[in-house]
Symmetry: C2
Subunit: 356 residues, 2 copies
DNA sequence: GGAGCGATAGCAAGCGCTTTCTACGGGGTA
DNA sequence: TACCCCGTAGAAAGCGCTTGCTATCGCTCC
C-alpha cells in the first residue's frame, strides 16, 4: 500500500493534522516537531495524495496551458516560458508553492478547446492560460464566454496570452488578464518596409479567415497599403489558408497565377513563408532578386532559411512568462486587464528592392 | 456554489449512487433512469469533481507526457500525437474514457524530470509517457528507476518513447513498454551515404555527450566510418554541444579550424544542422558545392532550408501515437516490452560529391 | 500567586465521489 | 401458486486530506 498522512503522523508521533500543517506551511509548528515530521516524510518517501488534498482544500495545484499546435514553436515557446514560470516554487505553503503546469494541445479545434477547459474545470485547476489567436465564430465565442465564466466562478484564474479579450468584456468578465501582441502594428510595419523598398504589387498569404491573429495582421498590411495610396483590389492579391507550410506553397503559386507581376509575397507567419519560398524556388525565382518574401513571428528557424527571412519578432517567451506570473498572482494585472506587447520589424535578406 | 452529484441526483429524483453509475457507465441503469439523469446533468451544467472522484476511485484520469523541450518540434510532434491518442474517448466508463493528457516540459533538466514525476505521482496519474533520449548519469538512472518503480507500484503505467529502457531491466521492471528509434542504424546509413558520395573527411557535431540519443547516433556514424576503413582519429573531428542551432554554428567553425579539409559536416540533429549551414555560409562556402551538410530527424523545416537538408526521418508521430495507445492499454505491448522504429535516410540537396 | 494569553498540537467533521452490500419487484419455472 | 433469480436502485461506509475549534502548557503581567 501507499503511505498515507496517517502513517507519517504515526511515525513522527504527531497527529495527521500536524503533518498536514508542516507540509502546507500555513500554520505555526514548533521547529523540533517540524523537523521530526520532515524526517518521517523523507524516510517513508511519502508523497501527498493530490486528489484527497484537492478535495479537502477545494482547490488543486494544477494549472492548464492551452495551445493550438504543440508542434509549432510559436506555441511551444510561449508554453515553455509560462510553464517554467508556473512551476517555479516561490514562498511556501499551498498558496505560493510550485504548481503542476500542464499544456494541452487543442489542435486549433474549438471543440477540443472547450473539452480541455471542461477537463480542467473538472480537475478544479487553479488557473488556465489560453494561448494563441481566437476564433471569431459567434457561437464559439458564446460557448467560451460561458465556460470561462463558470471556471472563474469556480475560482480558476483565466489568463489569455496572444489572444484579445473576449468581446463581451466589461465588469464581471471572467478573465483575469489578457496579453496581446501588436499584430496590426507589426503587419503594418512589415508592409511599410516593402513599400519603402519600392514594392507596389504585393501578394498576401493570410491565415484562416476566422482567426483574430489573421485578421489583425491583414488589417495592418492593408492599412499600410492604403496609407501609401495603393487601393486597387487587394482581395485578389490575398489568399487565406491554414498556418501551414503547404498552404504557403499552394497560395503562392495561386497568387502568382493571378498576378505574375508580383514583386513581393508577405506570409501570415514564418511557417507559411517557408512554403512560399519553396514554391518560388520551384518556379526558378530567386529571393530576393526576383521576388521578396516576408514572414511573421521570427521563429528560431527564420534566420536560417535561405535567404534569412525578413519577419516581425514577437516577444513570445516574455509574453508567456508574464501570463504565467499573472496566473500565479505573482505579477500585477496590467491596467484594464490588458497588456499589448510590441512587434519588431526584422529586415533581413529575403527582402530587397524589386528589380527595375 | 458549484453543483454536486447530490444536486443532480435530487433533480433527477434518484440517489447519488445512480448518478455516479450513469456517469461512469460501469453498472446497469434502466434506460429511462439514465435519460432522466443525463437531462438533469445537462440542465444543471454539472461537471464532475475530479479530485473527489479520483480520491474515491483511487485513480485519476490524468496522463502525463514528459518532454525535454517543448519549443522543439521533435518533441512537439511526439507529444501531440500521444496526446491526441490519449484524449480520444473510446468505449465508455472510467476505464476507456478520454483522459486529460498533459505535457510537462523538463527543459532537459534531470531534477525537473524527477520533480514532474513526483507531481504526477501526487496526482495519481493513470499513466506517464516519457519522451526523448535519457541521461546516462548513474545517479540519475538510479533515481529514475526508484521513482518509476514507485509510480508503477501505485498503478501508473509508464511508457518510454524515443528512449531506451532502463538498464536495470528484467522482470519487475517498472516499465510497461519502450518505443525506441533506430538512431544507430540511421546514423550509420547517413554516413554511408556520404561515404558513397566520396567523402572521407567528415566532421561530426554531436549532441550532449551524456545522452543516449547522442551516443547512438555517433556510434552509427563511427561504425560506418570503420566499415569503410576510415580509422584516423575521429575524436578530433567530433565536437559535442547542446542540441541547439548555436552549438551547430560554433562547433562547425571550430571543426573547420581543426581541419580545413573537411568536405562534409554531419550534425546530431536538424536544428544543429541549421547552425552548421549558417556558419558555412558566413565563411562563404557553398552547400553542397564546397561542403556537404546533413541533419537528423527530418523536422518539418528541414526541407525548406537552403538547400533542402539531407537527413534521417524518424517516425515521430507514429511513435508518439503508439506510446499513447500503449499507455491507455489500447494497443498490445510489443514483445519484450520493446519496439524499435526504423530510421529512413532522406538524401536531399545539401549533400553531394566532394569537388575533386 | 492566580488569571490571562500566546504558541502549539489534537479532535473530529467534513470535502464529493465510488462501491459494496442490501432491498425490492417482477417474471420464469416447477 | 410458491420460489428464485435477475435487473435495478438505494443506503452508507469510506477514500486521505484540511481546518475550525478545542485543549494544553508555560509564561508574563498585575
Amino acid at each position: 500500500m501507499t503511505v498515507t498522512l496517517a502513517d507519517v503522523a504515526a511515525r513522527a508521533r504527531v497527529s495527521p493534522a500536524t503533518v498536514s500543517r508542516v507540509l502546507n506551511g500555513n500554520y505555526p509548528v514548533a521547529a523540533a516537531t517540524r523537523e521530526r515530521v520532515l524526517r518521517a516524510v523523507a524516510e517513508m518517501d511519502y508523497v501527498l495524495n493530490g486528489p484527497a488534498s484537492a478535495l479537502a482544500a477545494a482547490t488543486s495545484d494544477l494549472v492548464g496551458i492551452l495551445v493550438n499546435d504543440i508542434a509549432d514553436p510559436f506555441f511551444g515557446i510561449m508554453a515553455g516560458a509560462a510553464q517554467s514560470e508556473i512551476g517555479r516554487p516561490e514562498g511556501s505553503g499551498r498558496a505560493g508553492g510550485a504548481k503542476l503546469a500542464v499544456v494541452c494541445n487543442t489542435g486549433g479545434s474549438p471543440e477540443r478547446e472547450l473539452t480541455y477547459l471542461t477537463l480542467l474545470q473538472r480537475q478544479r485547476a487553479a488557473a488556465v492560460v489560453i494561448t494563441g489567436g481566437a476564433l471569431e465564430d459567434p457561437a464559439h465565442i458564446a460557448a467560451m464566454t460561458a465556460k470561462l465564466t463558470r471556471l472563474a466562478q469556480a475560482g480558476t484564474t483565466v489568463v489569455l496570452c496572444g489572444r484579445p479579450p473576449l468581446p463581451a468584456g466589461g465588469p464581471g468578465a471572467p478573465i483575469e488578464a489578457a496579453i496581446t501582441f501588436d499584430n496590426r502594428g507589426g503587419g503594418r510595419r512589415l508592409t511599410e518596409h516593402l513599400l519603402a523598398l519600392g514594392h507596389r504589387r504585393i501578394g498576401y498569404v493570410a491565415g484562416p479567415p476566422e482567426r483574430t491573429t489573421t485578421r489583425h495582421r491583414l488589417e495592418g498590411h492593408r492599412a499600410a497599403l492604403r496609407a501609401a495610396g495603393i487601393t486597387e483590389d487587394q482581395d485578389r492579391l490575398t489568399r487565406h489558408g491554414p498556418y501551414t507550410r503547404r498552404s504557403g506553397h499552394e497560395a503562392t503559386l495561386e497568387l502568382l497565377r493571378r498576378d505574375p507581376g508580383l514583386t513581393a509575397v508577405v506570409a501570415a507567419n514564418d511557417t507559411v513563408a517557408l512554403g512560399a519560398c519553396a514554391a518560388l524556388r520551384e518556379l526558378g525565382l530567386r529571393i530576393p532578386g526576383d521576388i521578396s518574401v516576408a514572414g511573421f513571428d521570427d521563429l528560431p528557424f527564420a534566420v536560417d532559411v535561405g535567404p534569412a527571412l525578413t519577419t516581425v519578432r514577437l516577444p513570445l517567451a516574455e509574453a508567456g512568462a508574464r501570463a504565467g506570473r499573472i496566473a500565479m498572482g505573482r505579477e500585477a494585472v496590467p491596467p484594464g486587464g490588458l497588456a499589448t506587447m510590441g512587434a519588431t520589424l526584422l529586415a533581413r535578406a529575403s527582402t530587397a528592392a524589386p528589380h527595375d
